[in-house]
Symmetry: C2
Subunit: 742 residues, 2 copies
């Protein structure tokens, strides 16, 4: 009973969950169930299904009858409702109704239901109707309990908004002033014409739009050329404009966004850490016992063991023992509050357990495996020259790939290369212990093997198809090509400097995924709105002979730049092409042509949609993304390991359970995480090495939250335990504020 | 004698000059002359003349005979030589020859001379010759003693290079891999065509170039369209490419540049501060005297006074007295080393002296000026409503400017607005003391008055011209229009939030000018090379009827996109259009079209020039610029005033010489620096206010170095006086390393 509660506190602290749940035994059991991974996966699966319905709804990529999509959507709604009811059972009633996240979900569910009924009714009556509730779908992704990271990303945007908007107003003021000047200097009295023969800079609103586009650099230098051709002095106007608006203001936007991001993130992380310690203190309160009269309360080894076992059933007992030794530094058999509170962070440090195992061949045929030639093979494989040789082979392979594969010599050479790669893997498997070679962290070994085996299969299939009927499947061939090129990537891993950069990128990868969700939400909303506004206005014809292809099936586009550049496939006719179009808008170049294209087929005010997208995505979200990458990089460069991590490592060293550093550094096979598969090969078995070794997985943290906490760890007071006894009702403050309907 | 030496030490410390000069009396006098502002201005004037010779040399904007430009250049060389000889007399001989800056200047001068002789000889023999030494000219700008800021900017680039280049190699590897994949997936077997009908993605090198251009986003989405039109699945390839190379890698470049910039800047500033303290300690050593037997050496008030008088003859004796009181906190009549060393920083803090003066009209006709209606006028002018009224008038004016000025009603309204603005200025001059109103720091008052008076004159001239002969000068009209629009800018100043942003921008302005010099150097070199490579390959014809205009006078460009977009004026035919072209390349958009245009008329390898420019300017210099702006912004946001500044303010307060804060804040007229012109109006003269008041000019520092020092002040140990006694020979270490021929 008590252990359930304590386990929940610990795992909430570990994963930074801030849910104020009911502590009655029944609610605790329900809460444990609520946090079960299977239910979460199920929830995300249904959110994904709900979002992907856009593929099948009108305008559809793959048409399905309306009743089918409606039925699936109803199912999704049902799942969300059940999940919400479950959540309502877990937390106290008044807390549930106070949380805007829950209100938001309920409102979204109700609105969706209403919309479905209206849509169904209108459809049945054959009237025009719009599924407007589709824009609300991404709100579910934000407001589910698990969407903490995403909510935080939205909060950083919201926090930056006041300051960004005041810079934005100033920026717009500057654009308007420059436009007014352009109107006065270049208006009709000059009689200038654009290359399309239209009048140049005569309409104020058009000038404002053109100059706004110039800020994004998308129409540079074209917008300047008529004036510049008329008189060189006008170039000065544009140079000044670009300097002020493109360079200075855009840098200021980045600076403001970055500064706000940093400031608020710091405050949030501080709160998170406070909440975590509070939860650990509660867990301590549940398990504490009085060792001696009047002494401080403590937790016994036995209870601690049971707790960790329940909180993290996946870690080995040896690992658990190691953690205990870190906590119980004095070997007393019990720990106090301060040591106990560390547990959540300790559990977040990834410790790799290495088992020293002999090579299976060594056990099977020891005489052969330990013979002189066999040892020589092992030594060759482990030599640096082996890696260099294969890097050279890869480079030669790259040249061969680049050459024309029609040549039989070259197409046959592919078999030679494949054979070499297979040989390489077999040799490595011979020299290294296979289970270590394919351990969880050996990214490059897995990558290599999968790519080579897949290439082998695909090449065989391809030549079988070819020899059987002279028929070459384009798909198979494409896969073969892709795999061939992918193989080359491995070269990067052999060069230390590159490895460092790539490891940094991989480490900030999970956090970038949060931005992926953010982009998904914004894109989804814009795609839904765009599809309603612009669907089927622009059509793409596969058939080259179709005369409508020249103007995208819309006579209004006849002779327009949009059609001339054959942008017809950039349309809002289904959700996939909408997303691709929005990506093109994010990349910025030619966005004004795409915008004016859609404005031509609808109305000039359609440009507002495109400008709004630019402001939202390019000025705000991309800047937040850059701010995030910059900050993460600085942290990677400047902050070392955390205190706890160091103490864990010290303990590992003390207990002589460490892996010899040099061996790890020299080993080139397992570059990705430099661990695991190192001791199994047993060329020179050091007799007195223990059979179990630990290693702290260098700088890799398990959760994004932990990375963020490390980012600001340096500024936090490690002894800030004052909040151990914050009043009950304040605990709710740790609930992350929501971003939804508000 | 001693005072000369001490003065030099102090002013060297103040301006962060690190010149290891000879301390013999003669050398000191020469050094004082060397640092005279007139000589520096003269030097920069001749550097400017030398650089601007490009306007008159072939290919010339304004043709001058060769002998004329050569003569001017010889004069410039002579000036530089004299300056160098002067410098050689000031510093010890061995120091002179050890300094790479001097060697670089000598080499440049010699090479230029040799080049001029060769060129003259070949020219006389009518042979083809190139003035290759022109690319060396900007090196003088870098290597003159005064080019410290510029050298530092180049050093930050050089310091970032190793890390940037390893990321760059990885980035290029990624581009090559993607290109190989594109070649395999999209090469001729698909039979795709670009919209120009050329074959699509068939040549490996062309693919590499196209994909490199895609990183700059300049050919997005055009480069993707043929593949996307053929099959939607190919969009995935390009999305992945953009994600990896445009977003991730470009952010990494910024992160690496920023990180290096920060790291090295910190170290340099630390060294600068050490050198400064060392110099101040030396100045102290020159002036010190023993007050009491065995006591610490001190500097008397008298000597100190004499020193400051010589170092800064422009500051008032009252100001000097204030500084003394800050140093001599205990009122002892002498100061120790620690207090003395502060002097350089104290002199850098801008203190504004306010004199409480009555309005001249008050002295002339007191009865009238102090009458009731007069007081009412003054109160009205000082009221917030007065400002708001004129802001509204400006907004109405903006609308009128936007309307068609052919309409007589609107063109006449201009007179009304002008009259209103003149009235506003006259009223303000009536209410405020004129000398205070036009004080040095009242930027907006000056701006306002100049713009209104200029507009008045230009409008009168314009209507005089019009009424006299019905002739309207376009130039005069343009000036009138520009002035009208400029007037509107004043609105920004009334809004507090905008004022804060603009003040920040103005404060980092001088440092941005250093980047202006940096850009000038890089542009100049590229312009010189570009002019030799591409001059007269592309021609622009003013005459519309000329048939050659359609293909820029070069048959090779017939039908090319370059000619179709009428980019003919973007050429290297003179230094001005070269600079404009390079700016267009910096803005990035369409740079590939400009590049391929010039490659068409010369050779494919010409693209190398354009790619090199992109890498140099966009990837490195612009990122350094962004890093600088970001860092400056963060400092502005986070760092308050320095310790010294605060102690100066405290002293001002202590002495009751402060200006009442509220009065300053409320005053809306003098917004720019919120000072000076505030107390002269004397509506409610407080009898016991002293007639002289001081105010520390908020956060404005006088030199760029000081701003940079403030940027890192927070991290420096304020008590780090250990280097007071660094050995003589180490002093040379503070010489900034040079960046030139090396």
């Amino acid at each position: 009973q008590d252990f359930d509660l304590a386990t929940i506190y610990v795992s909430d602290a570990q994963y930074n969950r801030n849910i104020y749940f009911d502590t009655s035994p029944q609610a605790v059991r329900l809460y444990l169930l609520y946090n079960h991974w299977a239910l979460k996966v199920l929830l995300y699966f249904f959110i994904l299904v709900n979002l992907s319905l856009a593929i099948f709804e009108e305008p559809a990529l793959v048409s399905l009858p309306t009743w089918a999509t409606m039925l699936v959507e109803l199912l999704c709604l049902l799942v969300f409702t059940i999940r919400l009811v479950h959540y309502a059972k877990v937390i106290p009633r008044e807390k549930f109704w106070k949380d805007p996240k829950n209100i938001c979900i309920i409102v979204v569910l109700l609105l969706t239901l209403i919309d479905m009924i209206i849509y169904g009714a209108l459809k049945a009556a054959n009237l025009y109707s719009v599924r407007w509730s589709r824009v609300l779908r991404p709100l579910l992704l934000i407001n589910v309990t698990e969407g903490r990271q995403l909510r935080r990303a939205f909060r950083s945007i919201r926090n930056a908004l006041p300051e960004v908007s005041s810079v934005f107003v100033l920026f717009i003021f500057s654009v308007l002033m420059f436009s007014l000047m352009a109107l006065k200097l270049l208006s009709k009295r000059r009689g200038l014409k654009t290359i399309e023969g239209a009048s140049y800079f005569t309409n104020y609103l058009e000038i404002v739009f053109d100059l706004y586009v110039l800020v994004t650099t998308a129409n540079s230098p074209d917008v300047m050329m008529p004036a510049y051709n008329a008189n060189s002095i006008f170039a000065l106007f544009f140079i000044l404009y670009i300097l002020v608006n493109t360079y200075i203001f855009m840098s200021v936007f980045l600076a403001v966004v970055f500064n706000n991001y940093k400031k608020h993130l710091k405050e949030e992380i501080r709160q998170l850490v406070r909440a975590k310690r509070h939860k650990m203190a509660r867990a301590f309160g549940v398990l504490q016992e009085q060792r001696e009269e009047g002494g401080p309360p403590v937790v016994s080894h036995e209870n601690w063991n049971k707790l960790v076992q329940q909180a993290r059933p996946d870690i080995s007992s040896a690992h658990r023992e190691l953690l205990w030794r870190v906590c119980d530094d004095g070997n007393q058999g019990f720990i106090g509050k301060v040591a106990f509170v560390q547990l959540a962070d300790l559990l977040n440090i990834e410790v790799i357990t290495l088992k020293s195992r002999p090579h299976p061949l060594q056990s099977l045929i020891p005489s052969l495996y330990e013979s002189k030639p066999s040892r020589l093979v092992c030594r060759v494989v482990q030599h640096r020259g082996f890696v260099i040789t294969f890097d050279l082979i890869i480079l030669v392979n790259a040249v061969f790939i680049g050459l024309d594969e029609e040549n039989p010599l070259i197409s046959n050479s592919e078999w030679v290369f494949l054979a070499l790669y297979v040989l390489e893997i077999l040799l490595k498997l011979y020299a290294f212990e296979p289970r270590a070679f394919f351990s969880k962290h050996s990214f490059w070994n897995w990558f290599d093997t999968i790519v080579v085996v897949a290439a082998l299969i695909a090449t065989i299939v391809n030549s079988a198809l070819k020899s059987s009927g002279g028929y070459t499947s384009r798909q198979v061939l494409d896969i073969v090509f892709i795999l061939r090129v992918l193989r080359l990537i491995r070269v990067v891993d052999s060069i230390k400097r590159f490895r460092a950069i790539i490891n940094t990128l991989i480490r900030i990868g999970p956090a970038i995924l949060t931005f992926g969700q953010l982009i998904l939400v914004v894109y989804y909303v814009f795609a839904m709105v765009g599809m309603e506004l612009f669907k089927n206005k622009v059509k793409f014809y596969e058939d080259i002979t179709n005369p409508e292809k020249a103007y995208c099936g819309n006579p209004l586009l006849k002779g327009s730049t949009f059609a001339q550049l054959s942008y017809c496939k950039n349309n809002f006719n289904n959700v996939v092409s909408s997303f691709i179009l929005l990506l093109e808008l994010t990349v910025v170049n030619q966005w004004h042509l795409l915008g004016t294209g859609f404005a031509t087929v609808t109305h000039k005010s359609a440009l507002i949609f495109f400008v709004l997208f630019h402001v939202m995505v390019v000025i705000i979200i991309i800047n937040i993304f850059v701010a995030f990458v910059l900050e993460a990089f600085f942290v990677e460069y400047s902050v070392g390991k955390g205190d706890l991590q160091t103490s864990l490592e010290r303990k590992i060293e003390e207990l002589e359970l460490t892996v010899a550093q040099e061996k790890l550094e020299d080993n080139l096979v397992n570059a990705m995480e430099t661990i695991d598969n190192d001791l199994g090969s047993g060329q020179s078995p050091t007799a007195n090495l223990p059979s179990l070794l630990f290693k702290v997985a260098s700088k890799r943290y398990r959760t994004v939250d932990a990375l963020l906490q490390r980012m600001f760890e340096a500024d936090l007071d490690p002894e800030d335990f004052a909040e151990n006894d914050i009043p009950e009702d304040q605990a709710g403050n740790f609930e992350n504020p929501t971003f939804g309907v508000a």
